[in-house]
């Protein structure tokens, strides 16, 4: 019976059941890789080395610290200045191009104008101004994940709070919250964001995250409200009143942890949804401001090349990234939902 709770008492059991679903487990692994890639984006793709000793100077992580002395240098120029006889060395990123760097190196096998297809320099090709697709994908993951987590974090917070209050106190408060929930559910988030972007003239991710957070909390609210309605009839809530616990304590200590399971599942699906919204908006040009990288923005460049079979890498790789990420979040959510389902066996 206690399987419906994601709390210390059932963590082990939930994990044991989750582990049995290899598809969800694989998806979780994939998300792990994605997080690592987003976190280590500067080590995976950067125009500055990870660490280097050039001409007697040693730099650690110049791709993060951006020292003035190396401002004009890139991995390519440093390669040329590297004097191994004098003890110089360099640790290069996986791909020696940053997300903003336009590469103009002409060579025999390269046609004169970008986009250039995948080759040894650019494993996933470049976009129409010669920026590395891999670098932009890896750095763009940050935008997607940030939107996903911040927006969902915000709406879980709102939904949790309103759901708790409505379910616990009932009465007028419940009626008001329930009506507001129903009204909010009718808002088309996507077009709401477009309208807001048109009004505020702030081309960052902030309004996107805010609008998603402020319009998508309804599912969480309804889930939490229903859970609280069920939980508050259980005797342990009455028992904690009988030991003198206050309402606040009962809410925070007895109801929230017990209601978190379904919320977690909803949040996982929600992240996938938020990432899709961000990608769609960036695709339309309403997302991150240029030249900041984003998966949707990469796809929008591809739009221009769809008519003739030129730059397939601009469609396939960002498309794959969005597809894989959204699918992975959904698979993890599904696995979590099944693992938390008390009707499934131990």
């Amino acid at each position: 019976m206690t399987g419906a709770f994601l709390a210390p008492s059932s963590r082990g059991r939930v994990w044991r059941r989750f582990r049995k679903r290899w598809l969800s487990l694989g998806a979780l692994g994939l998300l792990g890789l994605l997080f690592a890639a987003a976190a280590l984006a500067d080590e995976l793709a950067s125009d500055k080395p990870i660490a280097a000793r050039v001409g007697g100077h040693t730099w650690w992580l110049p791709n993060l610290t951006r020292p003035l002395e190396l401002r004009a240098d890139t991995v390519q120029t440093l390669r040329a200045r590297l004097n191994r006889d004098q003890g110089d060395w360099m640790v290069e990123p996986l791909v020696p191009f940053g997300p903003y760097q336009t590469y103009s190196g002409q060579s025999a096998e390269r046609p004169s104008a970008p986009p250039w297809g995948p080759d040894s320099d650019h494993p996933l090709g470049t976009d129409e101004v010669g920026r590395d697709v891999f670098a932009r994908l890896v750095h763009g993951a940050r935008a997607s994940l940030t939107v996903g987590f911040v927006a969902v974090g915000l709406y879980v917070l709102i939904g949790l709070l309103l759901g708790l209050l409505a379910g616990y106190y009932g009465g007028v408060l419940d009626a008001v919250v329930s009506r507001v929930t129903e009204i909010t559910m009718t808002f088309p988030t996507m077009f709401f964001i477009l309208a807001v972007m048109g009004l505020v003239h702030v081309k960052t991710l902030v309004p996107i995250m805010l609008v998603i957070g402020l319009t998508r909390w309804t599912d969480v609210c309804r889930l939490v409200r229903a859970e609280v309605l069920r939980l508050k009839t259980l005797e342990f809530v009455q028992a904690s009143r009988a030991i003198g616990a206050s309402d606040l304590r009962i809410l925070a200590r007895h109801l929230v942890p017990n209601a978190m399971g379904p919320v977690l599942v909803a949040a996982t699906f929600g992240i996938a949804g938020a990432i899709l919204i961000e990608s769609s908006l960036s695709f339309l040009g309403f997302g991150v401001p240029p030249p900041a990288p984003s998966w949707g923005e990469l796809l929008s460049q591809a739009n221009r090349y769809l008519t003739h079979p030129g730059a397939w890498w601009l469609t396939v790789y960002p498309g794959l990234a969005i597809f894989a990420t959204v699918t992975a979040f959904n698979l993890v959510g599904e696995g979590l939902r099944d693992a938390l389902d008390p009707r499934q066996g131990a």
């Binding site: 206690t2 709770f5 709390a7 008492s9 259980l234 028992a239 030991i243 003198g244 304590r249 200590r253």
Partner: protein, 326 residues
């Protein structure tokens, strides 16, 4: 050395439910005392207002119920006059309660040690370490074997009997004066039931606890109560010492209850039952509430609701035609 003043004196307690079909007087004028160091049994069939009386004492009557009249004199002070905050400080500290369902009375997501500690941290401002040591101590006192290790168990790792012991440990954490036990053994099987009752009796002796034991099991009453209060349809119909009430019940309802306990007179035909059912509390007929099911009813029973009055020394009953002892 019985003290002069009862721990808790319940006077004319009325608790009503306001429903769409009108007011339901679920507890109607309940009057009885609970003494320190003694166990008062509160018996009656389902829906007679036993549990609601207990919840009224805790002032935890569920919506849409209201306490609408009466006094709850705790050491002479009316609990009903106390503020919500004062009441909250009493709960779990001076007055503790144990519930019927040990399976759902503990929060599934915290260890039992956490939950016992919570009471101490709440009322005694105990530190984490102190509270934990005390929790282990309490678990040992209520007979949980290997308490030092069990303290980190989650409720689902314990059996029903052990959970009820944990509930007792929680209730006793702050050394309360009054323990209200609402059918503490109903959900347990017979052998465990005996163990819990024995534990309750031992704890009561050791701590001079006043216990209000709510049950519908007359066997439990005979086993562990000093005084007995019998309720019927929201009313107290008989109050007396356990010994007297069992040997010479005054109210026909009590007498009928005692006759319908299986196994008392073995093998003498079918089990006796009380005919009819408890009347609908929202449409009570005038006169005595037990009249329709009573084999001793006389004409006055139809019009006058009998008051609770002494029939013998220390033995009260609400009946116009009490059972005369043979």
């Amino acid at each position: 050395m019985s003290p002069a003043e009862p721990l808790l004196r319940i006077q004319g307690l009325c608790t009503r439910f306001e429903t769409d079909e009108g007011e339901v007087p679920a507890v109607d004028g309940a009057t009885f005392d609970v003494w320190a160091g003694r166990t008062t049994g509160l018996v009656g069939e389902s829906g007679c207002g036993k549990s609601l009386t207990a919840l009224s004492v805790m002032r935890l009557v569920p919506e849409p119920g209201r306490i609408c009249a009466g006094k709850l004199l705790w050491h002479g002070e009316d609990l009903l006059a106390k503020s919500a905050e004062e009441m909250r400080k009493l709960r779990g500290d001076r007055i503790a309660m144990v519930f019927q369902e040990p399976m759902t009375s503990l929060n599934p997501v915290f260890t039992i040690g956490d939950q016992i500690s919570e009471v101490l941290r709440y009322h005694r401002d105990a530190g984490r370490g102190d509270a934990r040591r005390r929790a282990v101590d309490l678990l040992a006192q209520v007979g949980v074997p290997d308490a030092g290790r069990r303290v980190d168990d989650f409720p689902h790792q314990l059996s029903g009997g052990q959970r009820q012991r944990v509930m007792l440990a929680m209730a006793l954490a702050c050394d309360p004066e009054l323990l209200i036990a609402d059918e503490p053994t109903t959900a347990l099987d017979a052998t465990v039931q005996v163990q819990i009752l024995e534990l309750l009796a031992r704890l009561q002796r050791e701590r001079q606890l006043g216990v209000l034991l709510i049950t519908h099991d007359l066997g439990v009453v005979a086993e562990s109560c000093d005084e007995v209060v019998v309720m019927y349809a929201g009313r107290v119909v008989e109050v007396g010492s356990a010994a007297e009430l069992f040997s010479t019940p005054a109210h026909p309802y009590t007498a009928a209850l005692l006759r319908s306990v299986p196994g008392r007179e073995r093998g003498r035909g079918p089990l006796e039952v009380i005919p009819g059912a408890v009347p609908n509390l929202s449409r009570l007929p005038p006169g005595c509430r037990f009249r329709a099911r009573c084999d001793r009813a006389i004409s006055v029973c139809e019009t006058v609701d009998p008051p609770l009055e002494p029939k013998r020394a220390g033995h009260l009953a609400a009946c116009h035609a009490p059972v005369i002892p043979p």
